[in-house]
Structure formats: C-alpha cells, structure tokens
Symmetry: C2
Subunit: 299 residues, 2 copies
C-alpha cells in the first residue's frame, strides 16, 4: 500500500470501528445513565490503536476484513476504555482530564464510573460470545482476551504500577509491570488478528514478537512524552510521573537511555516484520505503526 492508501484505509477503518461501537452500545437494554456513562468514554475520541491493529493484520494477510473481524476488533476497545475509566478514579491515578475532556467520574460521579467500567469489561465478553464465529475460534479469542486483561495481564500490571510507587524498580521489574499494563492488550490484538487471518505458526510468532515490542515501545514512548510533551499536545497533564514518583524508563535510565531503549524495541518490531516481508507479504500497513514513535530529541 502507498502512503495515501494507508491513510485512507486507516481513516475509513477507524470510522467503521466508531460506528460499530456506537451500534453495539445503542443496542444495550440498560438504564440511560449507565449507557450514557459507558458511551461517554468509549466515544471520547481515542486512536482505536488496538482494534485498528487487529484489522490491519486481517487486511495484511487476507487483503480485507469481514464484519465479524470488525466486531471482534471493536470489542477490544470496550476493555481498553474500561481500563482507562478505572485507572482515572481518585483512588487510582486520580486524573481529571483524559484526551482533553473531563474524566468519567468527573462527569458521572465515582460510583457510576466504577459501574460503567464494570459494564464495559463484562460486555466485551458478551459481545465476543454472541458473534456467529466458529466456536473453537471464539473460545480461543475469549480465553486470550481474558488472560490478557485479567490478573495475569493488564490488572496485574496496574497493581505493579501502584506497588512500584513505593520503591524503585529494576529494569526487569519495570518491564514486567509494562508487559501487563500496556503490552498484554497489544499482544492480544496481534494474536487475534493472526487467528482471524488463519496465519501459519511462524507468522503468528512474528506477530507475537511485533506485539511484545510494540507494547514495550508504547510504554517507553508514553513515559518519554510525559517528560518532553506538553498538555496541549497530549490532552492530559504532563510531568505527572515525576511528581508521583512513578517508576518510568526516563527515571531509571535517563531520557537518553530511555530513547535508546525505545529505538531498540522499534528495531525489533522492524525485524519481526522482515520475516513476513521475506514471505512476500505486503507489510506497509504494519510498518506504518512504527511511525507512531516520533522520538523527540529536545528534553
């Protein structure tokens, strides 16, 4: 794909994901206030990075994605959104602003924010389990998603993050936190995309490596942005990590060391794509994810 085609595909796909999410949420028979609270955060204009990754993989391997692929992909945004709502709670990261808008509990109150998160988390599995997929594939997806999102994945990472505020972590410990907190859902996206595209074991391995390094790079980049970014650029408060004594790559390795670590992960992402490229696969859509990491040199 050429650059302008990639951009078109991306915009069209994100629009479809947004529509798919709206349709699904509109179909729920819930109290209006609960639906509003869930929709508020789902519609808060995220990049749909995780769901788009699933569909980019389908497009890469199958040359298209089906409506079922779209629904599987969209359901992942419910999990991601729930995690943001709960992370923003006063007892957690205590954030008032998310993507430039007041956080869920600031608008709907703390009780409703807990319940909106619970609702989104649960209903992701409802959505996945109601699709007319091959039940064997369906169970695999549900298992991988629950593993990635749960107490061995994302929830564990969040616990590690909170725990880490009390003492300095080693690099290995920090990586464990991040593998859970950010890496697990991105890895799931790679796995799901590969499964829906029925790829070979070798290609599934390459996607796994891509996802693992993507997750790490994503978190390192986020840490770096908190140091060098501005509130206007990011739509959220910056320099929070240092103020809250968070364990971050820049704190552990210095800004330069963190940037080096980021470049290393991006390099490994490139290498995993090379495996696919060697087999004649057009990797341009996946290579475009590397552009996410625009390393700034100013401190």
């Amino acid at each position: 794909m050429k650059n302008n085609q990639i951009e078109e595909f991306k915009q069209a796909t994100i629009t479809k994901i947004d529509q798919c999410l709206d349709e699904y949420l509109a179909s729920l028979e819930s109290y209006t206030i609960l639906k509003d609270a869930m929709c508020y955060s789902v519609d808060a204009g995220g990049k749909r990075l995780r769901s788009f990754l699933i569909l980019a993989i389908c497009q890469t391997f199958k040359g298209k994605y089906s409506d079922l692929d779209l629904q599987v992909a969209s359901s992942l945004e419910l999990i991601h959104t729930y995690s943001l709502i709960h992370d923003d709670l006063p007892e957690m990261d205590n954030d008032d602003l998310r993507r430039g808008k007041p956080t869920n509990h600031k608008v709907y109150g703390q009780a409703m924010a807990v319940l909106a998160g619970d609702g989104l988390l649960t209903t992701a599995f409802e959505w996945l389990s109601r699709l007319e997929l091959d039940p064997v594939i369906q169970v695999k997806l549900i298992h991988a998603l629950s593993k990635a999102a749960g107490p061995e994945g994302m929830v564990n990472g969040q616990v590690g993050d909170i725990q880490g505020e009390q003492h300095q972590l080693t690099l290995a410990q920090l990586q464990r936190v991040h593998r859970g907190k950010t890496g697990a859902l991105i890895q799931y996206a790679c796995y799901a995309g590969g499964l829906l595209s029925n790829v070979s074991a070798e290609h599934q391995d390459a996607l796994k490596q891509f996802g693992t390094q993507f997750g790490l790079a994503f978190q390192i980049y986020d840490d770096i942005l908190d140091v060098v970014g501005t509130e206007a650029e990011l739509g959220k408060k910056v320099h929070k990590d240092q103020a809250e004594n968070k364990n971050t790559y820049p704190r552990l390795l210095g800004l330069e060391g963190a940037q080096k670590e980021l470049r290393h992960s991006v390099q490994l992402m490139r290498e995993s794509l090379a495996v696919l490229h060697q087999d004649g696969i057009d990797i341009s859509l996946l290579a475009d994810f590397l552009n996410y990491f625009k390393i700034k040199d100013k401190a």
Copy 2:
C-alpha cells in the same frame, strides 16, 4: 434424597467448591498482593449459594456432577465475589463489614479493592474459556454469564439501586432493579445447571421460573432481614436500608406486605418444581432451597 443425605451432599459440595476456588486462585501468576486481595474475599466464607445451585441441578438431573461441572459452578463465585467487593466500596454502599469481617477495601485499600474486583470478574471468563468443554456449550455459558453479570443484568441492577436512592420506585421499577441486582446471577445458575445436564426445553423453562422467583424471593428476604434481623445473626450492619433511604419491599409494601410477596414467590418456586416432580424427578435437593426463606413474624 432424605434430609440427612441432603445435608451431607451440601457440606461435601461446598467443601469441593471451596477447594476448587483455592486451587484455581493459587494457580494464578499474579503479584502476591493482588492474589491475597482476591483470595481474601473469595475465602470470606460465603454460602456458595449460586454455585451450589448449579451443582444441585446437575445432581438432580444426572445423579452426579463432574469435575467440569464443579469448575463451571465455582467460576460463578468469582463474579459474585467481585460484585460484593465493588458494592462495598466507599463510593458505592460504603460498607466496612461483610460476613462479619472487614470489607476488602478496609484491608487492602480502595485501589486494590477496585483491581481485585476487576481481576475476579475478568478471570471468571478466563476460567470458563480454558475448560475442556464442548465449545458450543462453552460459548453459551460465557454468553449467558456475561449477559447476566453485565450492563443488562447485575451491573444494571446496581445502577438502578443507586439511582433509586433519589426517589421512590414503583413495585415494577423495584422488581426491575432486583431482577438485575440479585436475580440475574441466580437465573444464570439455573440456566447453567440445566445446560450442563442437557435437560429438555420444558424442564429448562421450569428451572428458569424457579430461578426468577428465587432471585425475587432472595431480595425480598434480604430486605426483610435488614428490618427484623440483628448484626450478630447476619454478620453485617442492619437497618441500613432505611437510614440510606433505599427502595425496599418493606418500605414500599410494609413488612406484612413484603412477607406476603415473599410467600407468593416461594409458592411459584414450589409450582415450578412440581413440573419436574410430575416427570418423576427427585426434587428434594432443589426443594431444600425453599428452606432458605425462614420468614420471621416478629417485627
């Protein structure tokens, strides 16, 4: 089954559920503090009413229950426990005591209580999806559970409960709240038990009616106990509903009216069991659930 056999079966089964839960939770690769927080509430000595109901149905229709049945049943306790942890949070019901012990957030702090709840909720689906069941049955169970627990079920009921604090509900509105808050998981238990036992459509209907009325009766009884019970008997604070201006059956119908409503639901439970009895099924284990409702006459 005779009364002493029922009692033996109940004790043996609850012990197995407890063991099954402990083994599953012990197998998780999570931070110790997260595992501790999850286990604390799972092990807090509940009656295992919902999971036992699944196994009582299996025993009733198949004359036994398998290890897989046991695991499906036990996974339901994770959902029930998560709901208690989140309901007890300061922003929700703000309870310090549960089953005579400090609530989860009182011991582990509010952030960990949110995460322990999130972890238990997610991992219930992980557990169900990793079992070696027929994938068609597995998807049906996951779908029914997520529907029962989510924003059209239990989470919705909890929202209705909070909303209702601000104005008096009608009986129909209160029943909607309770169908979600308490009824949905009990109905799921009846559905799951029937599905695992491969019962006829007619018997599945009878179980559904049993579950619906059981859920209603359960909540009415809980409301009544809050009026006539003592903290020592119940292991939690009483007279909270009135203090918090909660919508309850006694508030709406008076204590006598609530007791009449309870007797009505119990009668409908009896009638649904009569359908099974007519087909030569030994209903003694299920009829024993009626003993749960010991209607006190003192106010």
